[in-house]
Symmetry: C2
DNA sequence: TATTATTGCATAGCTTGCTATTCAAGTGTA
DNA sequence: TACACTTGAATAGCAAGCTATGCAATAATA
């Protein structure tokens, strides 16, 4: 058989993801946050005072990955945790003021990265591209 | 500002890359290799007896990342290194027979993952999709 | 109600990626 | 030829992902 990496979707996806992450890293480093914290912050900016399990239902990472990320976020002063009156196993996760203040500039950073990355595509191609990604993700997730 | 992660190229790219990697991992685990070794093997199957620098020119990862991956591959009996008569700093990297034997089944595994992932797209969409990825990668790499 | 099962998280240990730094070997030059 | 510069690779240290496992609190049941 023959194999051309430049024609392999998986190879390209991996490469592209690393470039996106690097680009985002550069944009958000000045804000004092790192890429892995981004998905968590996105959810908490919408609604905080939630449990780890609640977050897990919204972010497709393993529970252990999220637990470690939350620990680093607490260490970095981005979140605080309080007792959950309803269940002593779970705690409630809250944004700190510091994290709350980063919302707008973080959105702008992410948009800037997306804009820069997609500028090589026409407007219709961009729509088609993100649509394809959503479908591929859905397909892989559902087995 | 508002931010919809399901519309964010970066968010989707990251998610998709993790799903691809997980899928490939499942396919190649029986072969005794792991995902990070894949790009290195692809190059060495084409041509071995090369230096780390040669590999680096073909794979877009940092030098330190490659050095660590090569160490694990040596540990796992996939490569051997010999003295480079032309330069004592660099060694020549060779596939072991074990690694050489994995070529066809690895290609098949990768193709299977790509096929499965892209099955939700029409044939013309697949072409368009990989083409867009190549252009996005090129755009991000060239600044 | 005592026991068992489930659930929510934490921890251990690994890979793969990054940046920054170090070091030895090779190259160029005063 | 000695010194400085460059280059090829290794190492340290961290983040972010994974699987596997453990543990305490809660829920379900005999």
């Amino acid at each position: 058989m023959d194999f051309e990496k430049e024609n392999s979707a998986g190879y390209l996806v991996n490469h592209m993801a690393r470039l996106f992450a690097k680009e985002l890293q550069h944009h958000i480093a000045p804000l004092g946050i790192v890429v892995g914290q981004f998905p968590v912050l996105l959810e908490l900016w919408l609604k905080d005072g939630v449990t780890q399990k609640d977050l897990l239902a919204k972010i497709d990472v393993e529970q252990a990955t999220l637990a470690n990320t939350l620990n680093r976020m607490e260490r970095d002063g981005l979140i605080k945790r309080t007792k959950n009156p309803a269940d002593a196993r779970a705690q409630l996760i809250w944004l700190t003021e510091k994290a709350r203040a980063l919302r707008e500039s973080s959105y702008e950073a992410a948009q800037a990265v997306n804009t820069k990355a997609l500028q090589v595509l026409s407007v219709s191609e961009r729509t088609q591209f993100t649509d394809s990604m959503r479908r591929v993700i859905e397909g892989l997730r559902s087995g």
